[in-house]
């Protein structure tokens, strides 16, 4: 069920009231039931996939921990007898067993995601390759839907297994408690991609009724709803029209749509996070933050530490580090330059990040675009440093910061063309029009405002969209400068936001962008 809907309000109210009425030791059980009900409302038939993923990774976690415990026990018992070499050999034996279990679990889990999400993409590409070889054959396309949140919960469960394998986290021996961690409803459809070691601290605790905590959760939800229904969905009307048929719009419209999309996707996704985290906070459960004013980043690497934080952290800990620490990568580093393993690791990660977002080459290109920028910033770090020294640029200078922030935003916004366009052809067309056929003029500007409503009320719509967007970013600018407007004047802010939501909310559009991934 959509977060912004009557149904969800009723669901949340019933769950919250029951949560604080029942004996505290059963609170986590209620959350488990509520989470499965929430999932069933969205896609009842796909509960089976969630269930299978939960069972497989639960068993994997338990077995891995048993092996780790057995290994540690043996090392402890035979501590006086074992030499350094024999300790290493014993560890290796257990590691091999653990690795085998982990690989089976990952293949099954990621395999399901792979088949459901990438089958058509894979088949289409095979057809293309055959076509290039002169063989004309079209593989049939599968018509299946994706289970809600499969990209997210697969990563959550695989991350859990790897953490247990590495002994970073303890396994959960109670299958129902583990099932709650996987299916916890605020995180299930769009993340954040939480870590078991952090979530488990509060997830199974007993939580007393605390009105202040619920009020703060509600405030956070309000911020999220404002970003979503007043800003994101409003700009989405423009973006959907223009990106839906780019050849019908002028260069200026395409530029506006690209900039608006950056705001739309941020407010949509971070708005969802605000709602999810606010809801979770109400129950006394802390989830990881996923955004930290990303459009105030000074570099692309910094942007990815502030945007979809948990996804970046997941790829760093579970793909990037293992790849560049692997023996084959180290061999490359020995034989070629030392920087090559890092480059290889980054290419693997950003190819995967692109692919994670969708089964299409324009998503992959989006990932590789960012990967290339990060590789370049890594390789040219010393060049940039000496340039700044030669030009006497003070890195702490505020004007220089503003330049960096604008530059980073432009680079990110270019990538959104790849991300949002229907396909590569559209993306190329849009880039071409923006760069070579902008033709700004008063008349072009008037036409460029139209896609909001396709009539003369577009001007008014544009005005409100800009005011609402400004509201969001002024708060962030103040926050960036340590003037915490949102934290200080909560009651006035709440009145303003609720009033604006009720008067300017675009309630007709209810689904969130990242639910499709």
């Amino acid at each position: 069920m959509a977060f912004v809907s009557f149904r969800f309000i009723i669901f949340l109210s019933i769950l919250l009231i029951t949560y604080f009425l029942i004996p505290k030791k059963y609170q986590w059980c209620l959350l488990l039931l509520g989470s499965y009900v929430f999932y069933a409302f969205a896609t009842p038939y796909f509960l089976v996939f969630l269930f299978i993923s939960t069972i497989i990774t639960y068993i994997c976690g338990v077995k891995l921990e048993k092996l780790s415990d057995a290994c540690n026990e043996k090392l402890k018992v035979d501590a006086d007898v074992l030499t350094k070499e024999s300790r290493k050999a014993l560890k290796n034996i257990f590691m091999r067993k653990k690795r085998f279990i982990l690989i089976i679990c990952m293949v099954m889990n990621i395999g399901v995601l792979g088949v459901l999400k990438y089958f058509n993409f894979f088949m289409d590409n095979i057809s293309e390759i055959l076509h290039l070889c002169g063989i004309s054959y079209e593989f049939p396309n599968a018509n299946w839907l994706l289970p809600l949140g499969i990209s997210f919960y697969t990563f959550i469960t695989v991350g859990y297994c790897i953490d247990v394998y590495r002994e970073v986290s303890e396994a959960q021996n109670n299958i129902f408690k583990y099932a709650l961690f996987v299916a916890f409803f605020p995180q299930i459809s769009q993340g954040p991609i939480n870590r078991y070691s952090e979530m488990s601290i509060h997830l199974y605790e007993e939580h007393a009724f605390d009105f202040v905590r619920i009020q703060n959760g509600g405030y956070r939800i309000l911020i999220g709803v404002f970003k979503k229904v007043v800003v994101a969905d409003r700009l989405g009307i423009y973006v959907n029209r223009v990106y839906g048929a780019p050849i019908d719009y002028n260069g200026l419209s395409l530029l506006f749509a690209t900039v608006f999309y950056a705001v739309q996707i941020y407010c949509d996704f971070s708005g969802y996070m605000d709602i999810a985290i606010g809801v979770s906070d109400m129950f006394g459960i802390k989830m990881a933050e996923n955004f930290d004013k990303p459009y105030f980043s000074k570099t692309i690497p910094e942007y990815w530490r502030r945007w979809h934080i948990t996804l970046g952290a997941w790829f760093k800990d579970y793909l990037f580090y293992p790849v560049i620490r692997s023996d084959w990568c180290k061999k490359i580093g020995k034989n070629l330059k030392k920087t090559v393993p890092t480059i290889v690791g980054l290419l693997v990660v950003w190819f995967s990040t692109g692919l994670w977002h969708g089964a299409s080459w324009h998503y992959v290109l989006h990932g590789l675009y960012h990967g290339t920028l990060i590789i370049l910033s890594f390789l040219l770090a010393s060049v940039f440093h000496s340039m700044k020294t030669k030009l006497h640029i003070n890195e702490d200078n505020k004007v220089f910061h503003i330049f960096q922030i604008l530059r980073t935003f432009i680079l990110v916004d270019i990538s959104y063309i790849l991300f949002r366009a229907r396909n590569l052809k559209d993306a190329a067309y849009i880039m071409n029009e923006i760069v070579f056929h902008l033709n700004p003029s008063k008349e072009a500007l008037k036409i460029a405002l139209l896609p909001f409503t396709e009539d003369n009320t577009a001007v008014a719509f544009f005005g409100v969209a800009m005011l609402a967007t400004a509201g969001v970013f002024v708060c962030e600018i103040l926050d960036y400068n340590h003037i915490f407007v949102l934290k200080k004047h909560k009651y006035i802010n709440a009145v303003i936001m609720l009033t604006l939501i009720l008067l300017f909310g675009m309630f007709g559009q209810s689904s969130f962008i990242y639910m499709q991934y």
């Binding site: 590495r166 970073v168 530490r305 990037f320 580090y321 620490r325 890092t342």
Partner: protein, 79 residues
């Protein structure tokens, strides 16, 4: 090797990896205290320390390390 000597050697590695002779690490020094110590440089740093002390960190260590003091603890255990 004493703990002071370990810290001395770690400091040399830091100066080399971050190309900055002014770096002076302490027990509580974290990534936030050293300019440029991001996730990419973290691995470069770990590789350099492994090479310097002829040890091998496992992934658990690399991810969980909070400050330089903990790096020194692991080195003391391994050597």
């Amino acid at each position: 090797m004493s703990r002071e000597e370990i810290f001395e050697q770690i400091n040399i590695v830091f100066k080399d990896v971050f190309d900055n002779d002014d770096i002076c690490i302490e027990e509580e020094t974290t990534a936030a205290d050293v300019k440029g110590w991001d996730s990419l440089m973290h691995i470069t740093l770990m590789d350099a320390i492994e090479e310097k002390f002829d040890i091998k960190f496992d992934m658990k260590t690399i991810i969980k390390l909070k400050n330089v003091g903990e790096i020194a603890d692991i080195i003391e255990e391994e050597i």
